[in-house]
Amino acid sequence: MRRYLASLAVAALLLGGCNGAAAEDPAAGNSAPVQGGKLTWAIETEPITFNPHQYAQAKARLLVWNSFEALLTHDDKGGYLPWLATAWEASADGLTYTFKLREGVTFHDGEKFDAAAVKANLDQLLVAGYNPGVASTQLKNFKDAEVVDPKTIAVHLKQPDVLILDFFASPQGAQVSPKSLKSPDLKAGGPSVVGTGPFILDRYTKGQEVHYKRNPAYAWAPSNAGHQGPAYLDEITYRFLKESSVRVGALTSGQVDVIEGVPATEQELVRSDPNLTFAKQLNSGTAYNLYFNQTHAPFDDIRVRKAFRDAVDVDAVLQGVYRGTATRAWSILSPSSPFYEASVEKTYGNNPAEANKLLDEAGWSAKDSEGFRSRDGKRLTARIVLSAPFVRDKRDILAQAVQAAVKQTAGIDLQVKVVDQGTAADALAKGEFEVFDNSRADTEAGAALGLIVPKGAPINRHGFSDPELEKLIVEAQATSDPARRKAAYSTIQKVYTDQAVLLPLYAPADQVAAQKKVGGVGFEPTAGVPGSAYTVWIGK
């Protein structure tokens, strides 16, 4: 969200970057956008569903806004811009949000976009079994929607909730044609489930590719989109290439025009290729963090948590695993968040002497035959369980590097277990772990913290809770005053650092690389994931 370096239009059209050293402008050297042409883009993740209401994979977000649109969109400063809604206002009590809708918008199937369509979408989301996740979190304070007139819809809430705006800018809040809502393939999405976006999904070959063609009638891009009117490209094919080395090879050999997801080991190769452009952007949400399970020994003792944190030289570990391509994280939130609290930086870490002192004090002073610390004959052991299907960014290797670091500097036995999804879920359910890893890609930091901080929240697996912090979470969700929200989230970050609840490692990022002739490949403001193909064009 904090893309101070980039102006609105530039952020969308080119590549805004909060990491100036890493972001390069892929459109540099290109002339004006060219109309027409076909483009092939190799992506890592094949979506489980093409219905935006069912969206659950951050890596599939770059497809959503090609064919679907929401009432609002994120700007690059943590605020919102009009999209399918031209204006909105909240009532004084924060219980009613009234949206004025754009006129002349039609869905790909010819249906008119109006207040009744918005209401139909909201009603659909509350149908039992359709998407319980959205119904019970993003829409948990939603009461009902009222069609005031065809151009005006009023959304009533049960209690004030500023995060509702984030919902109306999210994929789950995207507008699906009322006719499509009756499709038998509604949950799966595809050619029969349509939106209002600049591209029309016309072909999907499972396991291979999804194809879009331009929507010639399109004329309602948001103001930060970089241009207006129909998209530049006639057609775009997203090909699913799960292996990163194959994606890079396909790009360097000119078989695809753009790729997403460039692993650290290949970034040097891509950057040094004069025919290619490369850019990366930090994602929104939380950093990739290791949380300590405080519900049992040894991390129920803050000295052991601090010792673990001090035992790791995070910079050296990241350098070793990612060759200098990773951005270090210091707080629970990603440094790209507008709520990021920079004052916690450099307040801990890489202090083996302190780590060993703390462990001695905590009673883990004996050393066993293998050099690990122990207390009362029990080794200082911590287990981390990684679910193999969800390991990305070489997080398994990263865990092993941390394992080596804590062993060497402090004699802590970190056991890294890479297992199948079922076994991982089982271990988490039974509490058979001392460290768990997580990163969240929510566009709204408050939504992520709401899942992590309160006692018993879905990802509060670390067991730390504090009534004061829970009050802050609730207050921050109810107030529309950015300063008060920032203060609340700052306090949470400071307390989490003081209490050594976690060890933040790096800020997740997305990368795109493209042929020189391709222009306009960018990142979505706030989310920090690759943007849609609306701004992309291909030179001759």
């Binding site: 489980i48 291979q208 090879g249 396909a250 078989q255 999804q421 076994t423 991982a424």
Partner: protein, 306 residues
């Protein structure tokens, strides 16, 4: 005549039922569940989980679910995928042909590789056999992933002869089929060469040569028949290998296909899809093992009398 056919059909049905039940049981016993996948990156609470489970009918007792599956299978209803939310028949239907094409061509390639290499090297100089056999062994033991990447690097990324991915035209099929065929061809070639050499040592070989038969006629007409029997038996059991190797090949080459569908369904515990794939594989297995039995008769006249 009717009785053996009925017996064959009956045993086929039992195999199908056993395969479906074993797959169902294995999935039930493995830890974790479908709901994990559906929750994905999204919010996760007990209420959400309960809602999803109710929606899919996963809250019913396991036995009820099992009987329900069997009952619907009997009616040809494979149900809908939990995760992909599409009818299973559509998913399998769209993915069968790319995999069939791939495996058929790979089978043809591996037969050519196996028979060709074996014929060329059997009974030849020690160093030649050693060299070829060494290469075969390295290919057989190399991870399929590595073979695929190597082939791609050379023939697609460097030379640009073949496209990298997808199921489009014939040229896109060549590299994946070769990647799949190399290990199988290497393995079968070892078996056939050994069979050939054993046959060449038999007295009938000496007799045939003494009567003026050329070396190649002896190899092709006589020795090969002897050598093919164990190879055909082995080939029958390689179907499972083909499917699991196809998983990797399809993934590396970005091809649609059953392999990827099957792995993801197993990972996600998408039971309707897993069961359908298992039934399909079992059906193919039954058909092919019948064909292998017939092939014995064709290859070895001695078996025809029995």
């Amino acid at each position: 005549m009717l009785k053996p056919i009925l017996r064959r059909l009956g045993s086929g049905a039992v195999v199908l039922w056993a395969a479906a039940s074993a797959a169902y049981l294995a999935l039930r016993l493995a830890p974790g569940d479908t709901v994990d996948t559906l929750v994905g990156d999204g919010p996760d609470t007990p209420q959400i989980r309960a809602q999803i489970a109710r929606d899919l009918g996963l809250d019913r007792p396991a036995v009820v679910q099992y009987v329900d599956y069997l009952w619907r299978l009997l009616h040809g209803d494979f149900g809908r995928s939990y995760v992909l939310q599409r009818p299973v028949v559509d998913i399998i239907g769209s993915q069968v042909w790319p995999t069939v094409k791939l495996t058929l061509l790979a089978t043809a390639f591996s037969a050519v590789i196996a028979v060709g290499l074996a014929i060329v090297t059997a009974g030849r100089a020690r160093w030649l056999r050693g060299l070829v056999s060494g290469i075969e062994l390295s290919i057989v033991s190399a991870p399929g992933f590595l073979i695929g990447i190597l082939l791609l690097s050379v023939f697609s990324f460097q030379l640009g002869w073949f496209p990298v991915s997808g199921d489009r035209d014939a040229s896109a099929l060549v590299l994946p089929a070769v990647a799949l065929a190399l290990p199988i061809g290497g393995l079968l070639s070892q078996v056939i060469r050994e069979g050939l050499e054993r046959a060449l040592d038999e007295p009938f070989a000496v007799t045939a040569r003494a009567r003026g038969l050329t070396r190649s006629a002896l190899l092709w007409r006589h020795a090969l028949r002897h050598a093919l029997l164990p190879a055909v038996t082995l080939a029958g059991t390689l179907i499972g290998f083909l499917l699991s190797a196809a998983v990797i090949v399809e993934r590396v080459f970005g091809r649609p296909g059953l392999g990827e569908v099957a792995t993801e369904a197993v990972n996600n515990k998408d039971i309707p899809v897993v069961l359908a794939v298992v039934m399909l594989a079992a059906a193919i297995y039954v058909v092919l093992s019948t064909l292998a039995d017939l092939a014995y008769l064709l290859i070895d006249p001695r078996l025809r009398k029995g």
